[in-house]
């Protein structure tokens, strides 16, 4: 079960499989780093479990990125991630692509 990782060069953040409240401090650190890159890429393809806290963090991240002029793209979004975002009415806010098979 991988932790959130940031690749400094392209601001790529890979979200962990268990993307829930307990692991969010690490995800937040990774996202903070991504905000310093010219463009950020979120990879949510591996997310198996997600909760409100995580989706809220992502929403805040996207707003911050937009405010700073950092472009954000999705490298993948699992069905679990998509489903959670849809349930909370956050798909538009997160600009999630259609779910990719996990």
């Amino acid at each position: 079960m991988g932790k959130a990782k940031t690749d400094k060069a392209d601001g790529r953040v890979t979200l962990p499989a268990d993307c829930r409240i307990a692991d969010l401090p690490a995800v937040k650190d990774a996202l903070r780093a991504a905000l310093t890159a010219p463009a950020a890429t979120l990879d949510g393809g591996a997310v198996e479990r997600v909760d409100t806290a995580a989706l809220q963090l992502l929403a805040v991240f996207r707003r911050e990125a937009a405010a700073r002029g950092v472009a954000v793209a999705w490298a993948g979004a699992s069905a679990a991630l998509h489903d959670g975002a849809a349930r909370l009415g956050l798909v538009q806010t997160l600009e999630l692509p259609a779910a990719t098979p996990a």
């Binding site: 409240i21 401090p25 409100t52 806290a53 809220q56 805040v60 911050e64 009415g89 806010t93």
Partner: protein, 660 residues
């Protein structure tokens, strides 16, 4: 699928809640004066009923507001908190606020506003809680609904407490078709965000045949950790594809503006009367009697001979008696105790007294005296005016009272009673009384009188009712006595009543309002003018006189005057006023009815008088159109129509003509 519209119960809920609010206010005022614990229980019960009703009938804002008031009352009830003036004040303001909410509910507007929200937070703060910002503006549920609009705002700590909104929303989605719109307005910046705190909120629409209890059940565990309101979707249909749903709105837009509210033409004035059950029972009894009498009379149809004449007469007498009783009973249905008007005064007197630094003891007498509903509705404002004036200008401040050798506390007394078939309402105070010199000076200045010499006290007091008297800027101590007094008199006169004042300098004033029991039936004198029948209301008649020609004086401009009890009164020939020719011209041939109306006394010249009778008033306005000088019509025993003379209007017209 059949659905029950809750809207049909709204009016009852409003009526009952108004009574509850009145009871709350009365109890709070009593509490303010050091009442006992039982009062708190009463207030709590009233608040609780309103809260329950508000939640049931789809007024979540009201329920939320009452909930906070109830929490505070709960602490008072348990003795966890002492009752002090501040709390009573806060709760009184809450009562006012709820009244405002009810008024808005009745006109179909959103219930919560900035003021109510502020007060709600104040109430919560009083019990040591802080609330999240206002929930999304509520909409009114008017109609059958097959779904729920849910406003769900978790408190910050909900996530850390192990409750995940995502899970709750998933559960909701299992109940029906769920649309979620996230509210992002409270999201902090990235750095400021503690990922374990919840800053999101949701507006949800759950469509489907779902019980409220089921929806509420989902939130059972988080009730204390969120602001939640659940109300029926207005007129939603499960398959209604073209209902604009929330998701179509820009997500990030903070919705502070209320959504379009589906509105039914709700008239603010309730067209209903609540009637005591014993009144209905007596009606049913009477109708029973009437049926018996009718069947008794029916037997005469088959075989009647002169020997049974006496029985027939008895039957007819019985019929007459029952009809009269029935009429009284039916009129009684419209009769309501004046308490509903009096009840507003304890609060008003308290607030005014505090504001003006005066100590006022209010005495209410005869609150159970019953008045026609229409009269009751219209007498409120004049009474408020008089009470306000009495406190503002009649009663003195404690030090001035002491200087005048009176106790610190002034007494204001409202008394209602039956007198000679009328209702008399007296507003008396033991204040300074009218200031004769100041009134005379003012009247001279405004040209209402030529000189103050020889004016009786009554005549001076009467000056304050003159229209010109009140238009001046409020500068002198007495001017308040005159502000709007002409309006007060006009309102009373329009109700077919009269108003008078007695005042003793240094001792106080008494305003006496005399009102008819009902507006639907008047006692009148039938007069003939040019072959037509007219009814002159008995209440306005002073006397009937026959004049001789030499008693009549003609003044410049063609007006006629006659001398009547130390005064010269104008003669109004009704045949001229109503344009019906063929009447008698010579003053000796006819009669003059001296009537007292709005502007003073006038002599109405008529051909002859027929007699006194009760007249059932029919509106001319509703059936034909408004006619100057006529207040209505009635149908006589022979089926012909008689017009009812509008004495107040005619005398106003005469006064204006004289003034012009």
């Amino acid at each position: 699928m059949s659905t029950v519209s809750l809207a049909q119960f709204h009016q009852t809920f409003f009526d009952e809640s108004h009574e509850g609010l009145d009871a709350m206010e009365t109890a709070l005022l009593a509490l303010d004066g050091g009442g006992d614990k039982e009062l708190v229980h009463g207030i709590f019960r009233a608040a609780h009923s309103i809260k329950g009703g508000a939640a049931t009938f789809g007024f979540p804002d009201m329920a939320a507001f009452t909930h906070e008031a109830e929490s505070l009352l709960d602490e008072l009830r348990d003795g966890r908190r002492a009752i002090d003036a501040g709390i009573v004040e806060l709760l009184l303001r809450s009562v006012d606020c709820l009244r405002g909410m009810f008024a808005r509910a009745q006109s179909g507007q959103p219930l919560a506003d900035a003021a109510s929200e502020a007060l709600r937070h104040e109430l919560a703060a009083a019990v040591g809680r802080s609330l999240a910002p206002a929930a999304a503006p509520a909409r009114r549920a008017d109609d059958a609904s097959t779904g729920w609009a849910i406003s769900f705002r978790p408190h910050k700590g909900m996530l850390a407490g192990g409750n995940d909104p995502l899970r709750l929303l998933r559960e909701l989605a299992e109940l029906g078709e769920l649309k979620a719109e996230a509210e992002l307005d409270r999201l902090p910046g990235f750095e400021a965000l503690d990922p374990s705190e919840c800053h999101l909120g949701w507006r949800l629409e759950l469509r489907g045949d779902v019980a409220r209890a089921a929806v509420k059940g989902v939130f059972d565990w988080v009730e204390d950790e969120c602001d939640l309101s659940i109300e029926p979707l207005p007129g939603a249909e499960v398959h209604n594809a073209h209902v604009p749903v929330a998701a179509a709105e820009p997500v990030a837009a903070q919705s502070s503006a209320p959504k379009a509210v589906p509105r039914e033409a709700a008239s603010a004035e309730s067209g209903s009367v609540r009637v005591a059950i014993d009144k209905i029972d007596s009606l049913i009894d009477l109708v029973g009697e009437l049926v018996i009498t009718q069947s008794m009379l029916d037997t005469f149809r088959e075989d009647f001979d002169a020997s049974r004449l006496e029985m027939l007469q008895q039957g007819l007498a019985q019929l007459a008696r029952h009809t009269r009783l029935l009429q009284e009973s039916v009129m009684g249905i419209r009769m309501l105790p004046i308490a509903s008007v009096f009840n507003r005064f304890p609060r008003m007197v308290r607030d005014l007294g505090q504001k003006l630094g005066k100590q006022v003891k209010l005495e209410l007498v005869g609150e159970q005296t019953e008045l026609d509903k229409t009269v009751l509705e219209k007498i409120g404002d004049p009474l408020v005016h008089l009470v306000r004036n009495a406190i503002d200008h009649g009663l003195e401040t404690p030090d001035r009272r002491r200087a005048a050798g009176k106790g610190d506390v002034g007494t204001l007394r409202l008394e209602a009673s039956h007198r000679n078939g009328s209702i008399v309402v007296e507003i008396s105070d033991d204040g300074a009384g009218l200031n004769r010199e100041a009134i005379v000076a003012k009247a001279l200045q405004r040209g209402l009188i030529a000189s103050g010499d020889g004016l009786t006290d009554d005549a001076v007091a009467d000056l304050i009712f003159q229209p010109g008297f009140s238009t001046a800027a409020v500068t002198t101590d007495l001017s308040g006595r005159g502000v709007g007094m002409d309006v007060v008199r006009r309102n009373v006169v329009d109700l077919g009543g009269s108003i008078g004042i007695r005042s003793v300098a240094g001792k106080g004033s008494v305003f006496t309002i005399t009102l008819p029991l009902t507006l639907a039936i008047i006692d009148g004198l039938t007069a003939v003018v040019g072959g037509e029948h007219y009814i002159v209301p008995l209440a306005s008649i002073v006397e009937t006189v026959q004049l001789r020609d030499q008693q009549l004086r003609t003044v410049t401009g063609g007006g006629e005057l006659f001398h009547f009890r130390d005064a010269w009164l104008p003669v109004l020939r009704l045949q001229d006023a109503f344009g019906c020719g063929g009447g008698k011209r010579a003053i000796e041939q006819g009669l003059v009815i001296v009537v007292e109306g709005d502007g003073g006394r006038v002599g109405l010249f008529v051909d002859e008088l027929i007699g006194q009778q009760q007249a059932v008033v029919k509106s001319l306005e509703a059936n034909y159109r408004r006619v100057a000088g006529i207040s209505g019509a009635t149908i006589l025993a022979d089926g012909s129509v008689a017009l009812i003379v509008d004495v107040a209007g005619l005398s106003r017209r005469m006064t204006r003509r004289r003034a012009a």
